[in-house]
Subunit: 311 residues, 2 copies
């Protein structure tokens, strides 16, 4: 991972003054690095001896950072519709372009790794992510989204990159198809678990105390699994509530507490985390086709770690 | 080019409803296809017998379309700062995501072509374009931008993709380095000529009658070569004028005519087109290292065609 960090830093360099600043804020200071960790750990587990996994791991993090920058533009649009301040708007233009820069650089790093098959998997993942984001955008404020539709959206929006991050390791190593498929499944299931935990955390997870980032989905009118589940069991009064706060975006300060109360009444946060645990278990099971060593143990521990975040 | 069109159409397909509509509007209905035409013609000129040039030509057009979509967001931000209507803002989010989709698909097409060297050239071009756009954004409303700084910005923003479009043909064909360098130069010089003609056309070119798209750069506060040249020769009154209309964005209906009069007084549109002609001639000269056949003639005719647009 130290080698990945070095590549991440090095490839942000640009003669264009403001790019390294913006990129640094996001890429260097930012993340938990869970996606590149999957690539590097899987490559080690398989006994891959080249250096390509470092470039691909860094490329995966760059794709993730690019989507975060572009998400800011997408989310801000929704949130601030009709009243964007000048600064936020100039920021939007910059976010779009620096995201494009990171995206382009990610492909340069993939070229460094030298595997056309890995390039195919990662470019397809990038395409699927964009499709997932468009579908999520179309689903905002729509209280008729079903659980199945929602799972399909996060499969594209979130799980595709986790899946690709895992799959490129056996591709680089030249593993059997069964191992490649197993790691693809591992990544996808871990990605689904990760997203569902995030969804629960946005409503405070299982902790009574709410963090300062809770409620973003609610305020932005995004339907996530907790709300989709609560809608499945909603009576007329509750449905009218969701329609007002989500579809119409008509929210007062007390509405988030009311939403939490309804979610709790239907056990929607419990059910979301139960679903996350099931996907995490699927991820661990998918490792059965892989060799057993200390790196396998590390990969098997990751889903548990992801789910534990919610408690 | 018919094969390129077929690939362009085919790769826009997506199960995500609104993507083909948006992409189609831009990619299928849109362009002059000058960039993919360079790739295809150069491959023919070199006697390349594979099919990779078709995928790369389509990929080049996708990159171009993705940057156009993202430019819309960037330009709109400037133009409508602080008063974005809801519809335009939702449009922004969609433009960002569909641009990302096209960008990702372009890399999938490059993988189809199977050349890692071509992938390197095109991914580097995409990175340089993003850097050029950021630099242009930073230069908006800045009347101290010099001619040299401006040429450096359009070298990145516009010429890099023309250059890459030409360079990938000899790479696919496996031509000598001298031929590859010659075509890279051809593309770059043609791209510079193309941009300078566009700059002149935004002030009506040499036609007295103004098209409905004239004045965009002026209204958006973008310094292009005509204005940079006029600023070099500006007296105090003129400098105060440019400062008011460009730097401060304080424009009335009569100001565009006033700008045109100042540009004409200094021969700035003539000088811009003279520079375009010089770059067009450089492009033709760069073909000296290439084989001579009917395709060479077609490539040599293209710069003239580009410059003629202005008259």
């Amino acid at each position: 991972m130290a080698a990945v960090e070095a590549v991440i830093e090095e490839r942000m360099a640009s003669a264009t003054h403001s790019i390294p600043q913006t990129a640094d804020y996001l890429v260097a200071a930012g993340g938990k690095r869970i996606r590149p960790l999957i690539t590097v750990t899987a490559a080690r587990m398989l006994g891959y001896e080249g250096a390509g996994h470092v470039s691909l791991a860094a490329a995966v993090e760059y794709i993730h950072s690019a989507t975060l920058l572009h998400d800011d533009v997408v989310d801000e649009s929704e949130l601030r519709r009709g009243k964007a301040p000048a600064n936020a708007v100039w920021g939007n233009a910059h976010s779009v372009l620096v995201g494009d820069f990171l995206f382009a650089r990610s492909f340069m790093m993939m070229v460094d790794a030298g595997s056309m098959d890995a390039l195919h998997v990662l470019s397809r993942a990038a395409s699927v992510i964009a499709e997932g984001e468009v579908r999520q955008l179309a689903a905002v404020r729509n209280i008729d989204i079903t659980r199945a539709e929602y799972m399909s959206i996060i499969d594209a929006k979130t799980a595709a990159l986790f899946s690709a991050a895992a799959q490129v390791a056996p591709i680089l190593h030249g593993s059997d198809k069964a191992v490649e498929d197993g790691l693809e499944t591992y990544g996808r299931e871990l990605g689904l678990a990760f997203q569902l935990v995030d969804d629960a955390l946005d409503y405070g997870g299982m902790a009574a105390e709410l963090g300062k980032n809770t409620g973003d989905d609610f305020r932005e009118g995004k339907i996530t699994l907790p709300v989709a589940l609560a809608l499945e069991s909603a009576d007329d009064t509750e449905r009218a509530f969701w329609k007002r706060v989500i579809s119409n975006g008509d929210q007062s300060d007390a509405d988030f507490d009311e939403a939490l109360a309804i979610l709790t009444k239907h056990g929607a946060l419990d059910a979301t985390l139960e679903a996350a645990r099931a996907h995490a278990a699927n991820a661990v099971n998918a490792l059965n086709v892989a060799p057993r060593n200390e790196w396998t143990e590390a990969l098997a521990a990751l889903p548990e770690f992801v789910v534990e975040r919610a408690y």
